[in-house]
């Protein structure tokens, strides 16, 4: 059993930063060898600008990690939604930044269980990373991916080695409706039981809430990757509390940064999580 990889402050350089669909970007950052090999679901705390705007770093889940010879790079799939991502989208190749990472707890698939990956929108990022690791280990998996429309199904074409099902709100590709419907259809096939399958999910918290309810009522193990504002991402400032449902441990708030961002979805009190 190895402990979590060391968290370091690591300089990085933009290799590429392109808009893959309207408002959605993929950035590749070259990192030094000081950056430990990350697990899917872990994130980096990126200083997107060094001029004090924005003031705080931004946590970004990893879409991938590439190692070729002595070169290491991380990939982040992000949407321009606020001040930080707007600055990030402006960076050209060669721009130097720094990041803290890899941070947090990643996905922990168990042996001999079928992983069912459920992605909503840009929440696909850490699940693409996870699917590649599963493929590398020659493990079978199911990948359910829902988005608003065709253009937002980033990465769907490179999902290999698993069974991919797509859903779009507008029906432009795949099933017309929510990825939750896909999950229900998958489960009612009768091939899976809580002893043979488990769910890994990431997406808008409203969707994660629904998937978590689905899993809890059926006794299915379900890990979700959470998202939220963070100040330190080191477990020090206590600025990213995760509210838990009544029961064991509900008298405290785990820190999303170091006790997450991947957590047991069925104990999270989604009503109280912004």
């Amino acid at each position: 059993m190895t402990g979590p990889a060391a968290v370091n402050l690591v300089p990085c350089t933009v290799i590429s930063n392109r808009e893959v669909s309207r408002g959605n970007f993929l950035i590749s950052l070259r990192v030094s060898r000081a950056f430990a090999k990350p697990q899917p679901g872990q994130f980096v705390h990126l200083r997107v600008g060094d001029e004090g705007e924005p003031l705080l770093r931004r946590p970004y889940s990893l879409e991938g990690f590439v190692e070729r010879g002595r070169v290491r790079a991380v990939r982040i799939y992000y949407s321009v939604v606020g001040r930080g991502s707007k600055v990030l989208a402006s960076h050209a190749p060669g721009r130097e930044l720094d990041l803290i990472g890899p941070v947090g707890v990643g996905f922990a698939p168990r042996p001999r269980r079928l992983p069912i990956l459920v992605a909503g929108g840009r929440g696909v990022a850490p699940l693409l990373f996870l699917s590649r690791r599963l493929r590398d280990k020659k493990r079978d998996y199911v990948f359910l991916f829902g988005a608003r429309s065709r253009g937002e199904l980033y990465g769907a074409r490179e999902v290999r080695g698993g069974r991919l099902h797509l859903a779009t709100d507008d029906g432009s590709v795949g099933y017309e409706g929510s990825v939750l419907d896909l999950l229900e259809r998958e489960w009612t096939k009768g091939e899976h039981t809580p002893l043979t399958a488990e769910i890994f999910t990431c997406g808008p918290h409203g969707l994660l809430h629904e998937i978590s309810d689905f899993a809890r009522t059926r006794g299915i193990r379900c890990e979700a990757s959470l998202e939220g504002p963070m100040a330190c991402a080191m477990g020090a400032c206590r600025g990213c509390p995760v509210p838990l449902l009544p029961g064991a441990d509900s008298d405290r708030y785990p820190a999303m940064c170091v006790e997450g961002p991947v957590m047991d979805a069925t104990v999270v009190d989604w009503e109280r999580l912004p």
């Binding site: 402050l9 924005p54 003031l55 100040a231 330190c232 206590r238 509390p241 405290r252 109280r272 999580l273």
Partner: protein, 326 residues
């Protein structure tokens, strides 16, 4: 020869005047890989309360223009948890460990000071009478000179450790509170805690923070913090530890020049863990440029035109500090 950067806070000698503020760095270990603690003066721990606190509901942090609002609510393991799980960490720190405490009443402050005094790992105690995020009356002890006096007078006989009273800037006459603390035996004053602030989500028509109000920190508050620190250095004779919005190394110099004996780095450390060391290096370089032999030549070296910038508050301005405050 390099000038000495050592400064004194009561009986405590710091290797240099750069500290990390309470609530920023946990108990040191959280950041030990990123902040070279052996090269800075010390850290102030997350505030310890008598009973464990889960803290406030989310959201607890929100970035504003050049600032950060927080309403953490002093999430901490309580005195017993601190003694059991955090003191061993503090013992191994390669810098001064200043333990921050906050009680809900005078008795709690006393119990906390006794507990920390006896733990053997604290180099000083920062008395947090100024957190804006606790209870309906979180600020009462540092918005009222009488109550500040009551707390300081009660805890002073309980320890020989230096007591640093941390003040809120959310008052009209901060010098009055500082003077009250000094009279009751405080070894130093630290300021500022956060400014009470608020943000509104126009989409949901709700306050952004879970607790509605929070504390504002970051570069946005630096000019405000400097003015409060200036007011206090003119009013008291004990050392003043200045903080509020230090984001660049030269910001630390500003506080020292106007008379702070030490500074604390806060919010900016989240983005730049190298900032405390950069502050030390900046102070060293500045002393070199001044051809100064000691940091004492820098502290309070602000040149102020006669009679200007004097904040008449509290008793009487009686401190002559750089500028002639007459």
């Amino acid at each position: 020869m390099k000038p000495s950067l050592a400064v004194r806070i009561g009986s405590l000698t710091l290797r240099n005047p750069v500290l990390v503020a309470s609530g920023i760095i946990g108990y040191g270990r959280e950041y030990e890989r990123l902040v070279p603690l052996e090269k800075i003066g010390g850290i102030v721990t997350k505030t310890v309360t008598l009973r464990a606190r889960a803290g406030n509901p989310p959201p607890r942090v929100y970035e504003t223009a050049s600032g950060m609002l927080n309403s953490i609510g002093i999430e901490n393991p309580g005195l017993d948890g601190f003694l059991e799980s955090k003191v061993p960490i503090l013992r191994d720190l390669p810098c001064a460990a200043i333990v921050s405490v906050e009680g809900e009443d005078v008795d709690e402050f006393c119990e906390l000071v006794r507990g920390v005094d006896g733990c053997g790992a604290a180099h000083a105690i920062e008395v947090n009478i100024s957190c804006p995020n606790v209870g309906p009356h979180g600020l009462r002890y540092s918005t009222d000179a009488g109550m500040a006096r009551e707390v300081m007078a009660a805890i002073r006989p309980l320890t020989r450790l230096p007591l640093i009273a941390k003040l809120t800037p959310n008052v009209t006459r901060i010098a009055e509170i500082a003077e009250a603390c000094e009279e009751c035996g405080a070894d130093a004053i630290s300021l500022v805690n956060t400014f009470i602030g608020m943000a509104v989500d126009t989409r949901t028509r709700k306050p952004i923070l879970g607790t509605v109000l929070g504390g504002l920190s970051g570069p946005a508050i630096k000019p405000l913090a400097l003015a409060k620190t200036w007011e206090v250095v003119q009013a008291v004779d004990i050392p003043v530890v200045g903080m509020g919005g230090i984001t660049r190394p030269s910001d630390a110099l500003e506080f020292l020049l106007l008379g702070a004996a030490a500074i604390q780095v806060g919010t900016a450390l989240f983005a730049d863990p190298g900032l405390p060391l950069a502050c030390v290096e900046e102070i060293e370089a500045y002393l070199g440029r001044m051809k100064a032999s000691s940091i004492d030549d820098l502290i309070g070296a602000l040149e102020v035109p006669e009679g200007r910038g004097v904040i008449r508050a509290g008793r009487a301005v009686r401190r002559e500090h750089g500028g002639r405050a007459s």
